[in-house]
Symmetry: C2
Subunit: 462 residues, 2 copies
């Protein structure tokens, strides 16, 4: 970065919010991936006016800018791959207001998702999106990635709760979209265009979110299966039954063994587990809980457990929650892909993933959100072994090919970032991609905002 | 239109699909508004390849094109205000497939919404969006307008069910967005950008829609109130109770009198009526139906009716369903605006609407979807009286100003079309509007697709 640019940025940010210290450059070089890209400087954002000044300076000096929340993303979205500046938004973490009469919350992007959930609950309200990282991820990051999570089967994803956004364009201009209305059809839907745009269109500084009333009660059921087909039949029968579960999670044999070893849960030997959460009025939850158990048993589930209370329910969830750390322990290397396929293709996708693993001599562990077709496929390998590493990357390419041939998508909730960039062209219609590049230019003609993310460049694809 | 353009269009469309006959020009000059704009020609679309040829010819000859479904829109979206060609899509009305395992339907745009609902129900599935015009409006029109309707409180709007779109760009290129996956974050969300774009970005020729399992049971409750405040308290208390109604409809005193006179329902004298629909498992519906009745009674509802069966439920709905024809009968003129406000501002908006009516010497009848803040505000007048007509239009301007001052939006579900075009600038952030115009240019650089709709031109606003 040129000294003039540095000086302008320092001035725009305010001296105490600007850092080029080595430890900061190290800290902001990483995210939830294994890659490292140190920024040239870090700016802690404080308000819209400051972000506006910073962005105008970045555009004037053609400095790349990467907005960052908790840095917990899994596809490199917060990595400054082109150098430049990281905007650390985590300090802008006020829940500005919760308005029970309007059933909305207005928040800054740095609010931790779990903190918003707690604040909403204190007023008898409910923020349904529930990414696994809810204890540390931020709403801003959730909006940038259109985060999904555990309750998406019944409640949808982040997009379904974003009513309004205030943001800064790369040239420094402020703008707002939407508001606190549940319905509005005035203008094009820029709000949902910004959701999932991975920080490539604008820097979001305020978000209005829809809240729901808190559900009255909750129940948990799990079932173990001796084959994938039976488990998939269980999921299909459940989804066709008219019951709308909150969560319908799946774990394969490898995942079950991993968590059993890690968390000492004494799980039954099985090829698959289905874990179902219900919520709603207590008498429905009680009755449907029995129905779900019967449906899962009918499909061949054995044993099937129906938690009798919340403590037992939490116990059933322990296997699923231990998944992340358990698989990490089994590493040492893991390529984690969040494929999604149409609901009816779930078992086929899991079988193909296992077959790819056999062909490549690697364990491929599959778990995920069966109720919405979103699978976390983990290619386990030893990254210090060049041959295994190569096979692991080849396995991911195979996985993507099979996923697309089943009408699936390369990312259900993690985003494209940099790690999936090379595969976007295989999924996305080329004309649609050209339209997306056109939209990017409308928002960011200088191309300074989170460059080399989300959309492959035309050159890279030719 | 130049003879060369006509010839090219005729050839592109196929002779038997092309018409310039006077009766067709008359037929396609109207929609659900009172305005008339005859097209120069009408083309009946048959498939993607034909639409592609037609669009390429229209771009080459700079002929304006207006896609049209049932022509039931209420803001002029299907009117050829700049002349040119109307694309009649109503003949493309195949339900291509319903895939129960994937819980999706793939349809052509001309499918009548009610027909899709029936086809889905035959397979035990449910297409929730339910515009009042469901018996004749088309899915294509619903997608173009992001139609809402009676079940939006619980089930959301059309946008929430559109998973994938195939469309033709103005220059004739085909493209697709999304697919049959419930979750996908690859690329910008062009699917939801097209939803609600009112036929100004692309011509949609295939839509993949999410379906849900059919609810098990349904119940209906109504309550009458001696004041708006009490009715609004009833709505607030209901929404805060944790019960998620399917529908929560509101009618004011004028509407009640109008339907009572029209449909001879012998309704109690009241200032407001609330009508609530519930669905779900039978024991919840039964229990919650009692709870809803108690909540509405507590807020001052008197009498409150709980339908004991579906026939009684349909009877309670008669008042709401008679609303459209009853108000038409009371005309002769009606300006119907579909304002939406944040949930907590509902009573205030209704009161202000009535006050504006008093000030302007007009009856302003309000009914609508109280559960999502979306109100149908009807300014009754005699259009043959120039003074009344002027007052009616002034009243609409007043309504919009009050709606915006309450944080509301000028259209919850009808769209902007031409009738609200002059007011978009008052609601929409100017920078956001510039971004929208940029997006329009990306899709339609020649500006031939449904011109003078949705977005006010920069010139018109300066």
């Amino acid at each position: 970065m040129q000294p003039a640019a540095l000086k302008a940025l320092q001035q725009a940010a305010g001296e105490k919010n600007f850092s080029q210290e080595a430890c900061d450059r190290l800290l902001y070089a990483t995210d939830g991936t294994c890659y490292r890209h140190p920024p040239e400087a870090v700016i802690r954002t404080v308000d819209a006016a400051q972000i506006s000044r910073v962005m105008a300076a970045c555009t004037a000096h053609r400095v790349p800018v990467v907005p960052r929340g908790a840095g917990s993303g899994l596809t490199g979205g917060a990595l400054p791959v082109a150098g430049g500046v990281v905007l650390d938004m985590a300090g802008m973490n006020r829940v500005i207001e919760i308005r029970p009469a309007d059933q909305v919350a207005v928040v800054e992007p740095g609010v931790v998702t779990g903190d918003l959930q707690t604040a909403a609950e204190a007023k008898g309200l409910f923020y349904p999106p529930d990414p696994a990282s809810t204890a540390f991820c931020t709403i801003g990051g959730n909006v940038a990635e259109n985060a999904g999570g555990l309750r998406a089967v019944k409640y949808g994803v982040t997009r379904d709760y974003v009513l309004g956004i205030k943001a800064v364009l790369p040239d420094g201009r402020l703008f707002k979209t939407g508001g606190a209305n549940l319905k509005s059809v005035v203008g094009y839907d820029l709000t949902r265009l910004l959701v999932g745009s991975e920080g490539t269109l604008a820097v979001i500084y305020e978000i209005t979110l829809r809240l729901l009333p808190l559900p009255e009660d909750r129940a948990t059921i799990n079932a173990f299966y001796s084959s994938l087909e039976k488990a998939a039949q269980g999921v299909q029968a459940l989804l066709a039954s008219g019951i709308r579960p909150v969560a319908c999670e799946f774990m394969d044999a490898y995942c079950l063994k991993a968590v059993d070893g890690y968390a000492k849960l004494d799980l039954p030997q099985a090829d698959a587990m289905i874990l179902v959460d219900l919520d709603g009025p207590p008498e429905v939850v009680a009755r449907q809980s029995g129905e779900v158990a019967a449906i899962l048993r009918q499909a061949g589930g054995e044993p099937v457990h129906q938690a009798r209370d919340r403590a037992e329910g939490e116990n059933l969830w322990r296997a699923r929650r231990a998944m992340g750390p358990a698989v990490y322990q089994h590493g040492p290397g893991k390529l984690n892909e969040d494929l999604a396929v149409p609901l009816g293709k779930l078992a086929e996708m899991v079988k193909r993933a296992h077959k790819i693993g056999q062909e490549r001599g690697l364990i491929i562990a599959v778990f995920g959100h069966a109720g919405d077709g979103n699978l976390h496929v983990n290619v386990m390998h030893d990254p210090s072994d060049p041959k295994q590493l190569e096979e692991a990357h080849q396995a991911v390419t195979d996985l993507f090919a099979h996923c697309l041939s089943l009408g699936g998508t390369l990312s259900g909730e993690h985003g494209v970032g940099t790690t999936k960039l090379g595969f976007v062209g295989a999924e996305t219609d080329p004309v649609a991609l050209e339209l997306m590049r056109g939209i990017k230019k409308v928002f960011d003609p200088a191309g300074i905002l989170n460059p080399h993310k989300k959309l492959p460049s035309a050159e890279a694809m030719s």
